[in-house]
Amino acid sequence: MLTVVPSRRAANQMIDRRLAEHEPLSGFGARSAWTHDTTTLRELTARAYRDHPSPGRLLQSPAPRFLLAEILEQLEPEVRSLFGPGIGLAGTARAVEAAIAEIRQAGLSALDLARATGGRRRLKALACVLDAYERKLTANDWWDEADVLVSAADRVRSGEWAPPGLDQLGVSGLYDVTRLQGRLLIELARRAAQTTIIVPFDPHHERLCAYAFPYIKMWEGVVDPGLAIDIEFLDGDQQASDLPVILRAADPADEAARVAEWIRERAQSGCALEEISVVAAGGDRTYALLARELDRVGVCHHARRAVRLAETPLLGATLMVFRLLDEGFKREHLQAWVSTALTSRLDANLLAAPLGTGPPASDSPAIWKHALAGIQSPSAAAFNTALDQVHELATREHSPAAFWRKYEHILDVVGLSETTVIPTRDRDRWEETIDQVRQSLTMLGRWDTSAVGWRTHRRHLLESLSGKSAPIGTASRGVAVLTPLDARALVFHHTAVMGLGEGAYARQQSATAVLGDGEREWLNEQIGERVFRTATDEAREAMLLLTERVGVTSGDVMLSYADQDDDGNPQLPAYALTAIEDELELEPAATSERHAVEAWRFDRSSELVIRSQELERQRAVYFAHAADQRRGQGNGFDGQLSPATTAELAAELSDGRLTHWSASRLESWRQCPHQFFMRHVLRLYELDEQPLEAEPTALGTVAHEALRRLYGETPALQKPSRDSIAAAVDAAGASLPARERGDPAVWSVLSEQVTAVLVRYFEYVGEKVPTGGRAPVAFELSFGRPDDELPPVLVTTSTEPVELSGRLDRLDRDQFQLYVYFLGALAWAEAEQVVPPPSVTGTIHCLRGPKALDEVEAPNPNKIREMIGITIDAAVDGGYDPSPADSTLCKWCDFRRACRIASSTPTYAGLDPTRGDAE
C-alpha cells in the first residue's frame, strides 16, 4: 500500500502510529518500518527521477534562479521594458523563478502562455522568459521539477515505472496539488487496484471548502468505470474537542507568554509534550517569541522553519567579509567581528582596544596592521592575514571555485569554522548553502571558469540563502511549533493556534511580485480552472486550515491573537478567527490581562535580587526629592555613601589628600559634583578611541598652543600674517597626539577653522586692545603644582587653608593682565564665572561667537577667594547642590552612562539639550 501525505512529518506520524499498534518483529523488541511506502509527493518524484534510466540533469535550487538571472540579463530591451526598470535588481530573479515554477507546475508551456497573455504586459514578458528558459533546458538536456513530474507521470502511465506497493494507493490530507502533481496522482491511481482519497474536511461546508473544490473535482473527473477510486470525507461532527478558547493578548510578546503558559499547564497535567502543538500563523516573529517563552517555562520544543538563516548571527559574522568589501574596513565592523565569540581565533581582549586607536574608517587593511603592530600574538597575526585576504578578494576577479575557496579560508583563519563554538547544525547550513552554489554553478558550467567580481559572488550566495530557514530544537522532541501548512494532516491532542491577527495566513509568495492577482484571475479564466491562487484563495485556505486544526484536535484548542503589533499599532483578529467565532457562537474575547511573567529563573539568588530591589528603591526615593531638598543630606558627592565614608571623603577633601584644587577642578566641581566624584574620586576615564572629528577640547588646546607659539616668537605681536598664524596652528596641531586630531583630512579643515578664528582674534587685538607695550611674559603658566616655580594661591576655608593651583593662559607684564581664552561660542556665560587668581586684572577672550571680542572685568580677588572658600566648605560639609549646574552638561558628560542622577531625576533625564529651550 502506497500512501501519499502532505509532509514527511505527517508520514512519520502515521508510521509511528502503525508501529505502536504492531507487535515487535525482531528479537530486540524493536519495531521498524521502511518509510518508503508512506511518502510525500516530493519524495515520490525524487524516486521516480532516481530510477529513470537516462534522465536530463536536474536543476536543483538555486540553479534555476541563477539560470533565470542570466536569462533576465540577456533579455531584449523591449522585453525588459515590459517588466519594468526593476528587472535588473538582485531579488528579481527569485520572484521570476517562483512565477516560472508556478506556471510550469500548471503545465503551461511558453507557447500556451503566449497564447493566453491577452495583451498583459507581465504575462507577455513572462512568456518570453519562459521561452528562453525552455530553450536552455532543452539545449542542455536539463530538467527542472516540472520535467521530473511530467516524466514520472509519463513513465507511470506507460508502465515503465511504478513505486513499490502501488497495488493500493491512498492519498490523504492533500487538497492543493498543482496540475502536474495531480496528473501524477491520477496516473498512479490508474495503475493501482484500489485507490482511496481521504479529503480532510466536510465538503458540505461550502464557505470553508471553496478553496479545495478544484481538487475534489479533479478526482471526480477521473471517470473510468474500471477504476476503483473511493473518496472519503472527514465528517463534520468529528469534533471531539471542547469549544476553542479565544485569547486576545496585549501584544505579541504577551501572547507568546500566555501560550507558553497554556502549554505548560497542559504538560503539567500529564500530557506528553509530543502530543501538544502550536501553529504559529503569524510567521517567524511569532516563532522567535514563542521559542523564547517556552524556554523560559522550561518546555522543550522544536520548529523546522524558525529563523531566517540570513538573519542569524553566524551569517552576520560570516558575511562580514562582504561588508568589509562593500563598506570599507570600518572600525566598528572590525570591532564587532573581533568581539563576537563566533570568531574564535580573534581574541577580543587583545584586539578590541588597539582597534580603537585606529581611524573610524579606512579603505585598506594596512592601517589596521599598523594599529596592531605592537601585539605579538597568533590572534593578531590571524586578524592581519584575514584582512589581507579580504582585501585580495576585492582587488581582482575570481572564478567561483577560487573565490569560495579563499572565502572559506578566511573563515578558517578567524576561527569561524570551529564547531566547538558554532553549533554543528548551523555550520552545516552554511556548508549546505555553499555546496548548493557550487552544485548549481557547476551545472551551469560557471564554477571553475569565468572570473567575476566579488559582487557577483555575493549575489550568488544571497540568492542561494534567500528564503532559507534554520530550525530550532531537535526534530520531534517536545512541543511541535508548526507553520499552518506544515500542520496539515498532523494530529495532536492539544493545539494552540497563535498569531491570528489580520493577514496572518497570507503566504509570502514571492511570485506575486510578477504574477499578480490580476494576471492570476485572467489565466484561471483562460484555462477554465482555478490553478493560480489569489488572495481570495488564501483567505479561504486560511479558514480551511484553521477549521482542520480545530476539528482534528481531540483535547483543548486555544486560538490567539495580539491586540497590537510589535510597534504598538493596533491589530484586528483575522477573519478566519472571527468566522470560527461566529460559527461556534463563541463569546467575543476581551483583551486579557497582561500575563504576569515570572520574573526570573536561573541561579541568581533571591537575596541578591532583593538587595538590588532595595538599593534601587532607595535611590528612586532619594531622587524623588527635588535637588534643593536633596542638598545637605550628607551624601558623598551624590553617590550614596555611608556617613562614615562621607566623612572620610570630606576629611580627605579638606586636607588636600583627595585632590589639589585648581581652577579647572573647582570648575568641574561647580558644574557637577557627581562628575567630579566619577573623575577625581573614582578616577574613571573614557576609553580612548580615535574620533573622525577632533573634539572641541582638542581644538582649544591647539588654539592655546598656537597663541603661545606666536607670542613666544614675537611678544609684542599685533597682527601676524595669516600664513604665520596658519603655520603656528599647524605646528600646534602636530604637537597633539595623532589620535586626538582624528581623521587627517577632517583635521586639516578644522585647523583652518582655528586659523580663521585666530586671524579674527588678531584683527581684534590689533584694533581694540590698547597697544603700547603690553608684553606677555608667560603662556600656559602653571602654578602651585609640585614642579611649578610659582607657589600655589592660599585660600582660607572654615577649616584649613586650601592651596589652589592652576594654569594661566597668558600673563602680561605691565598691567599683570591675565587672559583666558575660550573657543566655544557657548562659553560666554561660563566665561563670566571663571575664577582667575587674585591680584591681576582678568580678561576673557572668547575666540568664537558673536560676542567673541568683548572683555569682562575680573571680579574682585577677595570676593573670588571668598567664593572659592565657600565652595570648598560646602564640598566638605555636604551643603552643596548635588546636581549639575546645567542640564546640557549631561549631554556631553563622559560619565553619562554610569550616572544614575541623569537617568533618575526629573530635571536632567528628559531634556534634550540639542533642542535648547528658549526660556
Binding site: G91, A317, I610, Q613, V681, L692, R760, P906, T907
Partner: protein, 1090 residues
Amino acid sequence: MSNQLELSLAERMGIEDVTDTSIRSSGQRELSLEQLAVVRFDDDLVVTAGAGSGKTRTLVELYANLVESPESVGMASDDFGPERILCLTFTERAAREIKERIREVISDPEHRRQLETAPISTFHAFCASVLRRHPLEANIDPGFSVLSDDVAQELLMRIAVETLHRGVAGGDLAARQAVQLLGLARAGERLVHLVQAIRTAGWETRQPIVRFEEQLEQVAAAIEHDLPRSVAAAVEALIAAARDANLKQPKARGYLTAIEAAYDAWSEEPTPANEEILDQACKAPYASWRFEAATELRHAARDAITLLRGARAELEHQAELGCWPALAVSIRAAYRDVRVSRRVLDYDDLLLRTRDLLISHPGVQRHYSERFRAVLVDEHQDTDPVQQEILTLLLGAEAIADQSIEGAPRWCVVGDAKQAIYGFRGARVEAYRELATQADQRDALRILRSNYRSRPELVAFHNAFFPDVLDPDTHAGQAPYEEQVAHRKPSGEVAVEFLRPFDPSDNGKAKPAVSQREHEARALAMRLKAACDPDGVDTIRVEDPANGETRPAKPGDIAVLLRRMTDVEPYRHALQVVGLESVVVGSGSFYGRQEVYDCLNAIDAALTPRDPIPLIAFLRSPMAGLTDEGIYRLARNWDRRSGSPLRDHVFSSPESVLSDEELAVIEDARSILNELVNRADTESPGNTLAWLLDRTAYTAIVDALPDRAQRRANLRRLVSIADRAPRDGTKLLAEFAAGFRRRTDVPPRERDAPLPDAGNRAVIMSIHQAKGLEFPIVAVADIGSRSRFRIDEVAFDSELGIVAKRWDDALGDWIPTLSHERAKQHAKERDAAEEERLLYVASTRARDRLILSAGVKGNVWLELVEAFAQRDDPGLVTPSQSEWTDRFATAAVIESELPDPARSYLEPLPTAPGDTTAREVAGLLAGLPADAGPRASAAHDSMRAARWRGLIGHEALQRVPLHPPSDFDLEGWLNRVVGVDADEIPTLAGFIEDHVQPTLGTAQKVDREHPFRLRLPDAGTVVGTIDCLWQGTDGEWWIWDYKFGGPNPDLDAFHDAQLAVYALAAAAALDLGRVSGRVWHVDGTEHRDL
C-alpha cells in the same frame, strides 16, 4: 444645532421635520441630519468635522452604506465590495478603529471576509501594498523590507557624515566648506534634516540645485526692483513720521538729519557702503525717539535694509551658499544607493516611490483608479504634498476639478483645518482648504457641528474662547472657528480650571525655567491627586464613558497633555511623587531611560572589557546591585596607573576591601558577564537581551520601583527593537549595541507612538499624540512655555528650497540672506498659526473637565487664557493665590509601596525523548562526543573536498544503472548527468564497474537509499537512511554504506556502530534473522565488513 443651520440643511436635503435631530438612515442605525447629509454621498464631498462631531461614525456609516446599498448613493451595485473602496487614514490606530467598526455594522459574510484585505489603511501601508504588487515597475527589489524610522535616521546620519568625510578627503569644496563652518557632526546633522525635509516635500533629487539657481535669479531681480523700492518706502515713511512728530530734542533731531542725509546719499548711489550708513543711522537708540510709531517704523526700515543687504550677500556668495544644495543632493543620492544595495525602503520611500510609479506607469495608475470606485480620506488636513499628489493621481486630476468625468472614483474627504498640527512634519493644510473652497462653491461642503464628546459647559467655553484664538485676521490662512452644538446633558459643574503659577518662594527674581516648571508640575499633580479623592472637596465627577453614569474620577480618566515631550520629566516625576501612577506615551526620552542604559551597559561591560565606565555602570545598576559604597571602595583601591584594567582589579579584589555580601555580588556580576560573553551571538541580539533580563531578574527589580509599568514597557520595547535588529542588518550583538548607542547619543525624531495599555493610570502624552483621542479629564500643562520656533542657519523652505545664512569670517557671525529671511518669515507665520490650532486640539480632548495649567510665563497661550479670564463671565475658575498656597503648593513625597519581591523559581520541565539520528546513536555507541565524527572538521580544505566528493559520489552510486545497456558510457554519464569532477571520474567509474554493477546487477533485490524509522522500546525513535540494502542470490541480506575520503582507523568504531544500527533497523523492518554489513571506502576501494 442652531435653528438656521437645521433649516438650511433640511431644505437642502428635502427634509421637513427639522425638529427631529436624529433620523434613520437606510440601515437601522440612527444618524443626525448633518451626518446623513454626508452618508448620502450625493456628490464628491468635502466634510469639515469639528472635534467630537462623530466623524468616525459618519465615515463608517458612509462606508457601510456604500457596500450594502451602493444604489442608494447612485452607484451600480455590481462588484462594489470593500475591495473597491479605498479608505485612507492618518494613523494605524484610526485605520483599525474604522475597520473594526465597519466589521460591526456590516453583516454579509462575503463582505466581511473581503474586509480583511480591504484597503482601509494609512497612506504608508497602502503605498507599501502598491509597491509589493508592482516592484518591477517601481524599480525596487521585490524582496524589499521597510526600515523602521529610528534605524533609517541613524543610517542617513551615518551616510551624511561619511559623504562629508569622503568629500573632505577627496578635496570636494562643498564638503570642506560645510565642515569648516559647522564641524563634521553638526554639518551632518543639519544636512540630514535638509534631506528629510526635501524628501517629505516630494522634491526630485536634483530639484534643490535647480531651485537654488532659480532663486538666485529672483534675488538678482529683486535687487534691481522690489528691494530698493521697499527700502525707500520704509525709510521715507520713517522720515515722514519723524517730521510729523515735530521732534524737539536736539539729539532726536540730529538722528533725523542723519537719516535724511544717509537716505539722500543712498538714493543717489545705492551702494552697499551707503546701505550700511543708512542702516546705522536708523539704528539710533530708542530712548531718543519719543514718538509713537518710531519703534515699528525703525524696525521696518532696518528690516527692509537687511533684506536688501541679504540679497546682495546672497548673490555675492552664491558659490559658498551653493554648497548646501549640492551636499544635500549628493547625500540623498548616497543614501539611496545604500538602500538599493541593502534592498530596503524607508517610510518616505513608500510614498515617493508610489507617486513616481503612478506617474511613470499610466497603466498602473489606470489600474488603481479603475479598481477603486470610491476613495475616502480621513484627516485630510494632515496630508503632505506627496500624499496629496498620490491622491490626485488615484482620483485623476480632472476628476477633482470636474465632477462630470466618466468612470472616475467618487470621493469624500474629511478634515478639519482647525486641527492641522503637523506642519512641522511637512503637512500642508492648504490642500484641504482649497478642496473645501471648491466644494463650497458647488454646494458639496458639509460641516459637522454637533459635539457629542464634551459637556455643554465645555462646549460653551470653546464657543466663547476659540473664535478669538483662531482668528484669520491675526494669521492669514488661519482656520476660522465654527460654533459647535453640544449634545450631552449639562452637569452644572465647572468645566474649565485655570491654574496660574503662584510661587510662595517667589522673591520677585526670575527663576530658571526648570524650577518654574517643577513648581507647576507639583501643583498640577496635587490638583489631579485631589480630583481623584472621592471624599475631598476638590474631587471631580466624570461621566463613565462605558455606562454613562456619573462617578468620581479615577487616575485612568486623566490625561496630561504637553506641547513637547522633551519637557515631560517634571510632570511624570511630580505625579509619581504624589502617588498618581502614570504612563508616558511615546516619550522622546526612551533612549535616555535608565533601564535602556542598564541593558546597554551590561553588554558593553561584557564585550569591551577594558572600558571602565560601562563596568562601573553595570556594577552599580541593579543588574549587579553593588552599592555606591562598594564601588567607592573598589575604585579607591585600584591603581589606575598600574595599567591593569579596572575589570581585573574588580574581579580579583581582596576580601579586605569588600564585605561578604559585596563579594557575593561581585561573584555574581562576574558570572553574568562571562555568561553574556559566551552567549553573545550564539543567539540573536533579542534573545540575548531577553536572557540577560531573566538572568539578572531585572524585571523583578523594576517591579519594586514606582513607575514599574512604564519601565516594563520600555524593556519590552527594547527587546522588541533588538529582535528586529537582524532584519535591519545588525546581526551581531556588538553591532546592535553600537547602533543603539548612537541612537542614545542623537535621539531620533519623535514619532507617533502607541498608546500603551494604561490600566488605571494617568497618561502623559504630547498634544500631537492625543489627537483623535478623548479623556474625561484633560490637563494641558505648561501652557506658558514659549513656542520653540527657530530656524537653523541652513534650512529648507518648500517654496524657496534650501536657504542659508552666510558665515562671515571677519565678523565671526552669521549674516542673513534674502532667501533665508523670507523662509524665516514663512516659517514664523506658519508656526504661530499652528500654535493656536494646537491649543484648540488640546482643549477639545476633554469630555468633562479641562485644566489649563501654567508654570513658565512667556507664551501667547498664557496671554490668551489670562485675557479671557479677565472677562465678565469666562466660565472658568482660577484659584486665588491663597487657595493655591493652601491646596496645591506643597507636595510631599509619597513613597510607593514596595511589592513583594519574593517570587517562586521556575523548575524546568524534563525534556522528552524524540527522534535520534542513526549517526548520533552510532556516535554514542562508539563513545565519541556528540558532534564528533567525520564532519566535525569539515572546514579544512581537504575535508571540504572530501565532503563534496562524498555528496556527488553518493548521488552517482544511488543513481547509476545497475543493468546498463551495452553502449552505456559510464564516464560520460558521471560527468554529464551527475556532475562528477573530471579527475574523480576514473576512481568512481572503476568502483562502479568492479563492484557495484557486477554485485548489485546480479542481486535478487536491491534498494538504494533506504530511509527507515526504528522504534526502540523506551528509547524513542531512531531515523536514518541506508545507502544500499540488497539480497544476494544466496538469499543473504547485505547493507552497504559508502564512505569517501579514504579509510580512517579512528572512525572504524563509529562505522561499525553505524552499520549495526542499520542492520537492526533492516532486521526489524523485514523480520530478518541476519543482515551483513559492509563499509566501502570508495576512494581506496577497500572495505570493512561487520
